[in-house]
Symmetry: C2
Subunit: 188 residues, 2 copies
């Protein structure tokens, strides 16, 4: 009878996510994954399938975490506009305090968004979900009169998404983005 | 006496640049490079050094091309503000017409900006140069009264840089960015 392998799956996924985020999909070797999981290759394949399947699993975990962060900043804010402002300010404060890791999805888009159809479709779907969340908040803010009603909510939402990508990417080479964040938000 | 190898170096660099841009640094194998250059491994190493040296050479070629494109759109425009608008509109038109390749520097930042000190420093230096070009135009536009004088030129320049990164990255998963580009430019 084969020895059964016991390990904390969530903890392993978390470690592997950090690794893929830092080194990228192609930059992460099978040996890196074996080291990060603490499993031998045979147990690795039995538990996670191949490298690509594990990468997809980490993307879904990251999406869940990002979504929880988004929802948390939205429920804590007093108004829809405040929710958007607090999300962006939280990110620029985080960058200012030394986080230069960027965003796993930003890096994944750059590396595989144009190369792998499955990843491309996942990223398009994620973008649609984030843009929809922003658009809902913007429409609510417009109804309350705190966001310019003459602007198209869908356009503003996509503008916020694109600006967020820019901020997260630029943070890898420039830590001082508070004033830029203010400019981004000034059009609301 | 060894056979001398003759080839069009500029053409080879151009091919290799496309390859690194599309597949990323880590996603490009030695075999890919041998295929793209048409050289055998020994001639490859004699002509270009290692993979990393060749990558650095393509980054410098890309920087030169981007800089020429920037200068061209600046000299053709009637005013400084028009120069900035025409650069951004050119990019969003290009995206709309089907170019989803993003930007080589955007992809390079995501892949190696946090991982490789030499590449990080190159990208910081490139960012400073682009931001300086934007800031010069913004100050000229402010002196002419066509750009809001109360805004800080350096901040606006970094905002444009960050917005450009966002546009180029988002273009890999969303082709319709004309309205977003209008919003980005609306704060000038």
């Amino acid at each position: 009878m084969p020895k059964s392998v016991t390990f904390d799956r969530d903890k392993v996924i978390e470690n592997v996510m950090e690794l893929f985020w830092k080194k990228g999909y192609n930059g992460t070797s099978m040996q890196d994954l074996v080291d990060a999981t603490g499993l031998n290759r045979s147990s690795f394949y039995n538990s996670f399938g191949d490298k690509f399947s594990l990468f997809e699993e980490t993307l879904k975990t990251y999406q869940k975490q990002q979504n929880e962060m988004l929802q948390e900043s939205f429920t804590q804010a007093k108004t829809p506009k405040q929710a958007i402002i607090s999300l962006f300010k939280g990110i620029s404060d985080d960058i200012r305090s030394g986080n230069q890791k960027g965003c796993m999805f930003t890096s994944c888009t750059a590396e595989l968004g144009g190369e792998n159809k499955q990843i491309h479709d996942f990223l398009v779907d994620n973008k649609d979900k984030v843009v929809n969340s922003f658009a809902t908040l913007i429409r609510q803010g417009q109804q309350m009169g705190e966001i310019n009603e003459r602007k198209d909510a869908e356009t503003l939402a996509l503008y916020l998404f694109s600006s967020l990508q820019g901020l997260r990417l630029t943070s890898m080479i420039e830590p001082n983005l508070e004033a830029v964040t203010e400019e981004i938000l000034s059009i609301l």
